[in-house]
């Protein structure tokens, strides 16, 4: 690490080459650690429960059952021409990933201070591993989602599985990249401001209602619609719904907005994290 710094002075081109090589080497060296951390989280999470990994499937199903009963029977929410249960589940799957992953990424750096204080490990690895770990859980929750699509898809409101479903991973990827970016920002802030853990809890609650999970955005006044459209999550969810519920191809604009917003937040996250990571050690 120190040698590369010395050689950076020798020439700009060489410096950039070294820099990129360094990042690449660093990433390769620590990819095994990343894998270990993700598998550790997975093993520890269900280690002492009787049902174990089944909970990854059961928990979202039960949550969605509760939500479905509340919203379609108690509040009598429905959407003409749309399978409401699938509509709700799509939104929930995406939002649950975001809220769980960003929450655990936020505390990842602070929780590992004892380790970071003793040994050199790239700090970004902790929020990153949390986002990936919850990502595996996200993929598992797709199983009950597809279960519902297949079971309820043949009613008056049809939703078939078409070749367009092959485009869905694009929205998952956008969601993942966006969440990693947010995770970097949050974990940086929480080091300096521990109050963030409480503040973010409230932010998440607000976001739950300001993301169209159980309602449709067209039910609202136009100006609120425009505000809600600033939330990247809205676009990822809508992207998925366009395919799953309507069997249509998302528009090119939607493609660009999804990818663009994810990349922008991701880059901001990296810059914020990188700029501040050397100061972390003073705030333990």
């Amino acid at each position: 690490m120190a040698y590369s710094r010395m050689e950076c002075k020798k020439g700009n081109e060489r410096a950039i080459e070294m820099y990129i090589k360094n990042i690449f080497n660093n990433f390769r060296k620590y990819s095994f650690l990343l894998k270990q951390l993700v598998s550790r989280d997975f093993k520890v999470k269900y280690k002492r429960s009787v049902l174990g990994v089944v909970w990854s499937l059961l928990y979202p199903v039960l949550m969605m059952c509760v939500m479905a009963v509340v919203f379609s029977n108690v509040f009598r929410f429905s959407m003409p021409g749309v399978n409401y249960l699938v509509y709700l589940m799509t939104g929930l799957t995406f939002f649950n990933y975001y809220s769980e992953a960003s929450n655990s990424a936020m505390s990842a750096v602070v929780a590992n201070f004892s380790l970071l204080n003793k040994i050199y490990i790239p700090k970004y690895i902790f929020p990153l591993s949390k986002c990936l770990f919850v990502g595996i859980n996200f993929l598992l929750t797709l199983i009950p989602l597809y279960g519902v699509i297949i079971l309820t898809g043949s009613g008056e409101t049809k939703c078939h599985i078409t070749w367009l479903h092959l485009l869905l991973p694009y929205s998952y990827l956008c969601l993942l990249i966006f969440t990693i970016g947010v995770g970097f920002i949050l974990s940086t802030i929480s080091v300096f401001l521990r109050d963030m853990f409480y503040i973010y809890g409230i932010v998440i609650t607000i976001m739950t209602y300001f993301t169209p999970i159980m309602y449709d955005i067209s039910m609202l006044a136009p100006w609120i619609q425009n505000v809600l459209k600033l939330n990247p999550l809205y676009h990822y969810i809508t992207f998925a719904r366009t395919i799953i519920l309507y069997g249509e191809m998302p528009s090119v604009t939607r493609f660009l907005i999804c990818g663009g917003s994810a990349l922008i937040v991701f880059v901001i996250g990296i810059v914020v994290f990188k700029k501040n990571q050397d100061k972390f050690i003073y705030y333990m």
């Binding site: 095994f32 550790r40 520890v44 380790l115 003793k118 040994i119 050199y120």
Partner: protein, 250 residues
């Protein structure tokens, strides 16, 4: 191999106070308070290291002595890359194996086998390397019967054995040791001390911190004596140890 140039490290002891909302509000409205707090902040500054210079050549074993809070551990952390120095720079050529605190990467819920891989990954080893050395680690720790037992059920001595065995499995170019020689029972202490000796005599560059003058004298080629973050004396083991001993005992 290691070149430490004018390294200073500043800590701010009162750093938590800066974060309270009340203080920020007071500072905002009251200019005097702001100024006095700036001065207070200066007073709270603590230099753990001041202008430390030394070089270590390849294969040298360098010991560090000094009273508690002299900055020995901070210095090792700076060399290991855990902290960035406030001033100065450090050039290190070679891969570092820090043994500053054993078992830092253990997860108590996982069993010994999983922890060997996790801790190994934390130390920066690759999967292939750990696969090939796995048996050696287990043999050295003598924990064959406990491989599938969660570490939370281990005794502290067993945890230390496992940690030591994982940490010393590499042949690193630079080894940083912060008083870990005495782990486990008498038998394992003997064994770990021998292992350390063989690592050290195997041509590895070693930075070694200890309060035991005896072990410093037997292991080190050269000694650096730190006090209040500054180098008091560097030189031959015997001279420095004698001077240090004199100042401590009086």
């Amino acid at each position: 191999m290691i070149d430490v140039q004018n390294v200073s490290m500043r800590f701010n002891l009162g750093i938590e106070k800066n974060n309270s909302l009340k203080q920020i509000a007071i500072d905002f409205f009251n200019k005097n308070a702001r100024q006095s707090r700036k001065e207070q902040k200066k007073q709270n500054e603590f230099w753990a290291l001041r202008d430390v210079n030394f070089t270590v050549k390849k294969g040298e074993v360098v010991g560090f002595v000094g009273s508690n809070g002299a900055g020995k551990s901070t210095l090792l952390k700076v060399v290991a890359g855990v902290m960035k120095p406030t001033k100065g720079q450090i050039l290190v050529g070679g891969n570092i194996c820090p043994m500053i605190e054993l078992g830092a990467g253990f997860d108590l819920e996982l069993n010994a086998r999983e922890n060997i891989y996790l801790n190994g990954a934390v130390m920066g080893y690759s999967k292939d390397f750990l696969d090939s050395k796995f048996q050696e680690i287990v043999d050295f720790s003598e924990l064959h019967d406990f491989l599938e037992v969660p570490v939370r059920n281990f005794s502290s001595g067993m945890v230390a054995r496992l940690a030591f065995s994982v940490a010393t499995i590499v042949e690193p170019e630079i080894l940083i040791v912060d008083e870990i020689l005495s782990v486990g029972d008498l038998n394992f202490q003997q064994k770990s001390e021998n292992k350390m000796r063989s690592l050290i005599s195997g041509g590895t560059t070693v930075l070694y911190v200890s309060h035991s003058i005896k072990s410093i004298e037997t292991l080190c080629d050269r000694v650096v004596w730190l006090e209040h973050g500054q180098v008091v004396m560097t030189g031959e083991t015997k001279e420095v140890c004698a001077a240090y001993y004199k100042s401590q005992v009086g």
